[in-house]
């Protein structure tokens, strides 16, 4: 029975793919006809990315055994563009998928392909597409390849701009899930009005106002033998963006009707999320303050899945995304079930010639974020809990105070000083015991030795009494403009309580870049950890080996 089903599925997919190519060919023909009429015939462009790794066994760092020895992820995009038609596809190959990605990425195929026609005020897309309404709190179809996230919608999208300043979007589709689609149907509508473009009398006003709203509904059949689950779940939001000279104010409020799911433990409670942010900025200075309250806002097109799968919405984390390796040890991941978050950030440019700026100027960036639980009272009924909207919960999820100072000493020499103070609740973020408190310091130097040769060094240190103790990492990189770089690092867990675990994770890498082609070859040990982009994370296992990556754009 299972085999039969699979054959049917495969042939169905094949038909789809073939019909898609027939359409593509039709466009090509039209294109050549257009060319004869001296209308711009369009062009094909795309890019390719291949990441391969050879894995050495290394039981000391707990690297999992890789029977294939070598794994590779490959992607190639081909996009055709002409004045009114766009078409494209992405061929993906996971043979087999790299360690740290979801193993359900298996095999090769085309899961992203689209045809778009646009003329005047209308744009129609058939096939796969990415989309975001507002800040994405209700709907965001996006890809984050480094995390293996791709929840592109497969269906139709229509964009319509009847008058300047007013835009409508409508979408319907199913979400991609590896080489298949999620079971639920997603339908959405969004409208956005820019008053300054829409009203002639407002076009010159100093105050800019953009308002928007959207409604999204998902359908998934209730096949549960016990619970009566809502099959259609609606979610909507309103947003405003105000700007007056140096001051701006942004806010979005989203609401979702009850949506029992595996991730919220099948409670019948409504969900909501409020995001507010205010900014003051002028040349040389910037200040931004944000707050966010999230309550039961997991929204997926399959109520049984967890992790990063089939999310319809995107709940941005308010924490800073760090780039130094030791600063990325304790990254925060948004908690859609509930969080109270606040953040503030300050930027200042000390101009050259000022007292603190010295001859060549100095930059300061101060950032603080704190995330707690929401305050909840269990109700012992199907709604799960009640929650006071304005009350902050007692549990600390995450806190980060950091400062970054960039000082230029001469035309050739620059230093960046960074300090972070982090509290990380591993229990909440990763589901494992532990609340860690870490202090991290980084000194980076950049020295332009000649017009073409530059040396960059980093000295990073992480201090903590918990987890695996202290870490130290020196890094050195030489670049030979315009084409080459080489770098080496040694990440050393010298503070580990267990002597055997005081491991050196060292690595070397070299890269070559020419115009739109980049190649990189690395050898080294990688520590197990969380790899995050935008508050969404994936766990990466430890590894030891050689990796090669190539990207090219054409």
């Amino acid at each position: 029975m299972r085999i039969e089903l699979r054959v049917e599925k495969v042939s169905n997919h094949k038909n789809k793919t073939i019909s898609f190519f027939i359409l593509l060919s039709l466009i090509t023909l039209m294109n050549s006809v257009l060319a004869q009429d001296k209308v711009s015939p369009g062009a094909i462009h795309g890019n390719f990315q291949g990441d391969a790794q050879y894995y050495n066994p290394d039981s000391n760092i707990n690297a999992p055994l890789v029977p294939e020895k070598m794994l590779m992820n490959g992607y190639a995009n081909f996009n055709y563009e002409s004045e009114h038609f766009l078409a494209g596809l992405r061929y993906e190959s996971y043979l087999h998928v790299l360690q740290g990605f979801d193993p359900r990425y298996e095999g090769s195929g085309i899961m992203y392909r689209y045809l778009t026609y646009k003329k005047d005020q209308m744009e129609i897309t058939a096939g796969s597409f990415y989309e975001q309404f507002g800040s994405g709190m209700v709907l965001r179809a996006y890809e984050e390849r480094g995390l293996g996230i791709d929840n592109a919608l497969e269906g139709f999208r229509v964009k319509y701009t009847p008058i300047e300043g007013l835009t409508f979007k409508g979408v319907i589709g199913k979400q991609r899930s590896f080489f298949n689609y999620g079971p639920g149907i997603v339908r959405g509508f969004d409208g956005e009005l820019s008053l300054n473009d829409f009203l002639k009398s407002w076009s010159e006003k100093k105050t800019k106002i953009v308002v928007g709203g959207c409604f999204v509904s998902k359908y998934q059949k209730d096949a549960d033998p016990i619970y009566i689950l809502p099959e259609n779940v609606g979610s909507y939001s309103g947003r405003i963006n105000l700007q007056h000279g140096k001051i701006s104010f942004n806010s979005e409020y989203a609401y979702k009707i009850n949506d029992p799911s595996f991730t919220n433990h099948f409670i019948y409670k409504d969900g909501q999320c409020l995001l507010v942010s205010a900014t003051y900025t002028k040349p040389g200075i910037g200040l931004t303050i944000s707050g966010k309250r999230t309550d039961n806002m997991n929204y997926r097109s399959d109520r049984t899945v967890t992790g990063t799968l089939l999310n319809i919405n995107f709940l941005p984390a308010l924490t800073k995304q760090h780039t130094y390796q030791l600063a990325t040890f304790y990254p925060y991941a948004t908690q859609p079930n509930g969080e109270m978050a606040g953040s503030a950030e300050f930027f200042y440019n000390f101009k050259p010639g000022s007292t603190l700026g010295g001859k060549h100027g100095m930059n300061l960036a101060l950032n603080f974020s704190k995330i707690n639980s929401i305050d909840t009272v269990n109700t012992n009924n199907e709604k799960g809990y009640t929650s006071n909207f304005l009350k902050i919960g007692k549990t600390i999820y995450f806190e980060d105070l950091n400062v970054e100072l960039t000082k230029k000493f001469s035309k050739k020499y620059k230093m960046i000083f960074t300090y972070l103070n982090i509290i990380y609740n591993k229990n909440v973020i990763q589901g494992e015991e532990g609340i860690f408190h870490a202090n991290i310091g980084v000194i980076e130097t950049i020295w332009k030795m000649t017009d073409k040769v530059a040396m960059r060094t980093e000295l990073q240190h992480l201090y903590t009494k918990q987890d695996q103790g202290n870490w130290l990492e020196p890094l050195v990189e030489f670049s030979f403009s315009p084409h080459w770089f080489v770098s080496a690092y040694d990440l050393y867990n010298y503070g580990n309580e267990i002597k055997d675990k005081q491991i050196h994770y060292f690595g070397v890498s070299t890269g070559y870049t020419k115009n739109a082609v980049r190649m990189m070859l690395s050898y080294g040990k990688q520590r197990a950890g969380l790899f995050c982009v935008g508050g969404v994370c994936r766990t990466v296992p430890a590894s030891n080996g050689v990796s090669f990556s190539i990207t090219s754009s054409f």
């Binding site: 060919s25 700007q243 900025t281 995304q321 930027f347 200042y348 530059a454 670049s479 403009s481």
Partner: protein, 184 residues
């Protein structure tokens, strides 16, 4: 067992049709060697919408740089350009357009960040990477040079110190109306 026998067959067919379609399309595009900017909606710092087809520098070169507040080499690139920007502008009239691919997590930081660096570039936000996809940009930084006719004549991925010099050589060629050597 039948499923296993079917599978490779299916992949091969799919691959053939894929290659075929590409050859067809490629043959159609032989007519056109140049490439214009795709038209995509972006957000301004004010929050209003702007279409990339309105990008214009009165016949002078434009440099479009994809960056993000979390991308260190991107910031180094824009810093390095900015140190020379006023000279470059005087000599070639070049305009730099910085496209932030920060998503809604970090997009609010863009305006204060840019001011904190003192940059005077035109900055726009590509919140869900639509323009990035249309330009086939993988990991940032990636820069594109646009000539007087609006054609994309050069692109460069990544940044190391000193790359800005090569970039400026290209800008000077384009400003003088010369072709960029294909061998480069």
């Amino acid at each position: 067992m039948p499923a296993i026998a079917q599978y490779p067959n299916y992949s091969m067919k799919k691959l053939y049709s894929f290659i075929l379609a590409f050859i067809l399309l490629a043959s159609a595009s032989v007519f056109s060697q140049t490439r214009k900017l795709p038209s995509v909606d972006l957000k301004t710092i004010d929050g209003t919408t702007i279409n990339t087809s309105t990008f214009n520098n009165n016949g002078k070169p434009m440099l479009i740089s994809f960056w993000a507040t979390w991308c260190k080499p991107c910031i180094e690139e824009l810093n390095a350009i900015f140190e020379n920007y006023s000279d470059w502008q005087k000599e070639t009239g070049v305009k730099v357009i910085a496209i932030s691919i920060d998503d809604s997590k970090t997009a609010g930081r863009v305006a204060p960040f840019v001011n904190g660096k003192g940059w005077t570039y035109d900055v726009f936000k590509d919140l869900n990477s639509d323009f990035r996809r249309a330009m086939n940009v993988g990991d940032p930084p990636m820069a594109f040079l646009i000539d007087a006719k609006g054609d994309i004549v050069w692109q460069h991925v990544g940044f190391v110190e000193g790359n800005e010099k090569e970039m400026y050589e290209m800008i000077k060629l384009v400003a003088a109306g010369k072709a960029i050597p294909t061998k480069n």
